[in-house]
Symmetry: C2
Subunit: 119 residues, 2 copies
DNA sequence: TACTGTAGTTCAATAATATTGAACAATAGA
DNA sequence: TCTATTGTTCAATATTATTGAACTACAGTA
């Protein structure tokens, strides 16, 4: 919470970086949740929603990787750090990319649920 | 070249698996090349095209990861192993996913070239 | 200023993956 | 069988990821 929170310039965002960030199931779920949320979510809120026993250091690292890949922007609000997806910028930089990945993810989640794997 | 070359069933292909496979710049380039090629490419041909000094064991591993993720199908032709992208199947399973990733990749390559980074 | 509670980061030890040279296996052709 | 070609597997090495514990930052209270 000390450093100035480096976000990459949108032109420096790479496809490989985005794919690497989203290749982790937890991070994919995080981005999915962030898109559903109206005005960002902090680590504590995210941990509650995902219902995985995620240590806060792990959440912090996931957020960092998402931030460094250019997928999210984080903003300090008092003691919290609220993050949200850089939707418009990413859409301009790589049209359709994030949408199709999230769409595929949703599709997969639905099939998994139908098979009875989780809730 | 001995084992029966296990390819996952298309229903077992996961988004995370695909993203992980394509998160590596070399593998992303491989898939891009395979899509350009008309009837598949083997490791030797791929190594020539990519113009990176890629050891054959490395190429073999990349092909294996792409195969196991469900992105490509490999077929023995004599002493060679020719691989191609499972385009139609993937399009059915996750519509638009592969296309948008490759489109983003092409876009990125164009910008990089304009900046003068490689050829 | 000091104290308390909350939120998140950093460190560092451990675990899991990735890389690749070298040895090996498979096939074609002579 | 011998040789050339293609690709796989092994195993040592290097790179990344995971996470508990210690630490930093901020807000509120007094």
């Amino acid at each position: 919470m000390s450093r100035p929170l480096a976000h990459p310039n949108i032109e420096d965002v790479t496809v490989a970086g985005i794919l690497h960030a989203l290749a982790d199931p937890v991070r994919l779920a995080i981005v999915s949740e962030l898109l559903k949320a109206e005005s960002g979510l902090n680590c504590t809120q995210m941990t509650d929603r995902l219902e995985v026993g995620m240590p806060k250091s792990t959440c912090s690292q996931h957020y960092r990787i998402l931030r460094e890949s250019g997928l999210i922007v984080s903003e300090r609000k008092g003691v919290e750090l609220t993050s949200r997806v850089r939707g418009r910028e990413l859409e301009t930089r790589f049209p359709g990319l994030l949408q199709s990945i999230l769409k595929a993810h949703e599709q997969e989640m639905m099939k998994t649920r139908r098979r009875g794997r989780s809730g």
